[in-house]
Amino acid sequence: MNIFKRLLLELQEMSLLSARAALGIFKKPRYIPEAIAQMDSIGVGSLTIIILTGFFTGGVLTLQTYQTLASYGATDQLGYLVSISLVRELGPVLTALMVTGRVVSAISAELGSMVVSEQIDAMRALGTDPNRKLVAPRLIALIVTLPLLTLVADVMGIAGGWAVSTFLYDLPSTMFINSVRDGITTDDIIGGIIKPLVFAFLMGTIACHKGLKTEGGTVGVGRSTTTAVVTASIIVIIADFFLAKALQVILGTQP
């Protein structure tokens, strides 16, 4: 099979997987407790790393751009610059990448070990569809929690930027806050929420697909985990570019 065919096949399998999981949501039994448990482990569990990532990214943005803005005498725009970079780009992408490292790896490793120890077969033999019991709750949990985590990262990033500008560069606190408030528009926030929704869907599908396709024992689990993390990270970055362009057109923010 050549690489193009294989790519198409993977795409077809992933679409089918997500379609089955999505259709399963509307049928009984519904796996609400499973979805809530996943939200807890994906969302609440990732909170610490997202808070730290957001805070220090905002901090370092201020650190790196302050000199340039000061040379133009535009330090009153510091909050605007930090917040717009965070809300539009860094928040969604960094959150997605951090969650990929923590969650996509965990999902594909968990499902992969279930495949090699025949637990998936056992589940099917017991009359339960793994797509609905395992895939759907994870997808839903990711789709619900990733936008929320992104918001946390944005807020923490702005807080980090504010902390550096206030305590390191002695800028007045109100100046930073006012430039954030004046700079950000509703469109930026909407765009910043739509992105993680799409990322979550892509990451969840890739993680579950790679996990369920595991072959070749424990070595296979390692291999599928690596592939899942690498593929999800790259897809997030590529999708970010196209989403940014699409959002510019849709929201009419195109210059």
Partner: protein, 303 residues
Amino acid sequence: MMAETSVHRPGAQPPDNRVSERAAESTFREVDDTERAIPAIEFREVTMVFDDRKVLDNLSFKVMKGETKIILGGSGCGKSTTIKLVLGLLKPDSGKILVDGEDITNYSEVEMMRVRKKIGMIFQEGALFDSLSVYENVAFKLHEQGVPEDQVENEVRRMLRFVNLEPAIDKMPAELSGGMRRRVGIARALVGDPKIVMFDEPTAGLDPPTARTICELAMKLRDLEDVSSIFVTHEMNNLDYLTSEYAVVNEAGEVVFETEGEKLCLINCKVLMMRDGQVIFSGTDETLRKADDTYIQKFLRGH
């Protein structure tokens, strides 16, 4: 003696032979039951190919109701594939598979879910869900069906008693020994009293007494519960137990195992031997032991 008892004396009550009439009736009913003539599992010329390698080559066999079919064969000869096909976990490339006379070959996953309810499957290593306790593992099927918790608990305890593991009810799979994991796997497969049970090398890697316990469970299912089963193995002691002993309930109400001999000859246990995806032997254990095929003899004796 017989003549004496059958003499009808005037004024005396006629002899009560209704019990034997009833027994005869039920025996005939069983023999005449056309349902029982339909095989529980039937393979018709099933072929399965993995990456240009024929795993199953024109495989045909039947498992009748109440019968245990022991599938023997070396590693990689297609034994596990065979039972995964019965459950529809894999699909054949050609041929037909029938369960209870129903052609399941082209069933979708949704249709298969209904068929799987009739079948219990015991996996090689138990395949217990690591994240769930023994109780939750055995209760899995009932929880999925939304059965009330008190009924679930009764059923789980009954099943764990059947495999002698009731004290382990609150343990996690990681705390269990290999033999215990298999037994929990058996308890989980038997929830809902399936009439067809598949054993995929259930004694591989177990010590002889534990292996014996598992074979005894299989015999109890066959002889006391009228379960049809496929028992995949490559261990000779499993073959010896299953083909020469049977389970009965003694007067004290205990299950005991007797050896076939003068009194009774087992007819509900047949052997099928596979090699490279093909059937090389099908019949009783007696004919298997007498077969002059060098591979079979080597397999039986180990040299």
